[in-house]
Symmetry: C2
Subunit: 165 residues, 2 copies
């Protein structure tokens, strides 16, 4: 699985903490984790295309959650980055197998069904977890995490402090 999934999930959790209506730039998120900013931006673009994030250009621009964090599942983020294809793709190799069972056998391939069933359980498990749920768990376990994150992400943004001396 690609690295971008981890970055996207962390970014979504962080953005669930920032004030609504205020966008966070990819550069600031990248600096938070010491990540390559341009590449993180590319991943967030995929989330925009999936309708998970909304983007605004220009100064004070950036990304923000497109809907409430309790309506964004972990599966949504994973599929946005990795694509909707199943991990196990049955190429239907049986259609070339000899014997009189080609078509039917291929459609009802038991191996494909087994793999698909396992993947469905995996997806179901991820769809049960939401960004908001993870954020709440983190808040419970690390009471300072939210405040610290918001401070790092919104502090000294745009507002140039008065030049001293």
């Amino acid at each position: 699985m690609g690295q971008g999934v981890e970055w996207a999930l962390h970014s979504c959790v962080n953005m669930s903490w920032t004030p609504v209506g205020e966008a966070v730039s990819s550069a600031r998120l990248a600096a938070f984790y010491r990540l390559p900013a341009a590449y993180l931006n590319k991943q967030l673009q995929a989330l925009v295309r999936a309708g998970i994030l909304a983007s605004v250009s220009g100064p004070r621009g950036g990304f923000q959650l497109a809907r409430r964090p309790d309506r964004i599942s972990v599966l949504d983020v994973v599929l946005a980055i990795e694509g909707n294809d199943d991990a196990f793709r049955c190429e239907g190799i049986l259609k070339d197998a000899p014997g009189g069972m080609e078509a039917d056998y291929a459609r009802t391939c038991l191996i494909s069904q087994t793999m698909r069933h396992a993947e469905v359980t995996w997806r179901t498990e991820l769809s049960r977890q939401s960004i908001a749920g993870i954020a709440q768990s983190i808040e419970r376990r690390f009471p300072d995490a939210r405040e610290e994150t918001v401070r790092q992400l919104t502090g000294a943004r745009g507002r140039q402090e008065p030049r001293s001396a």
Copy 2:
């Protein structure tokens, strides 16, 4: 997920049908599905290294199951081909994050735990299914499949028929 997983699973099911003690060459298995023989051979080598198959060289050589098919789970085959690493690898990006929560946060990263939990359910699901179970399901649904497969895999093997004329 790699294509070899599908080939390996089908090959294991087929070998669960062939008589014990008789090896099946990769060339014959590849011809059954119209697959590149050398590449299938490469995949089966991985199963040998994992202790799932046993290989014998020379004429009448090939591969055979190293243990009873009801003791080989689908997960065993998948891990033998794909490797034992988790699909989602948490690189611990939080260790570079600012704030006073680095080490603890990284070790107990909730996102990593969520992804890991989903993967555990996936693996559990696959570990419940055995090669023998899949083979039996196929036999029930397609009564002729086993006989036809064995005939294709063992027919005219080595035994050169008497030259006519």
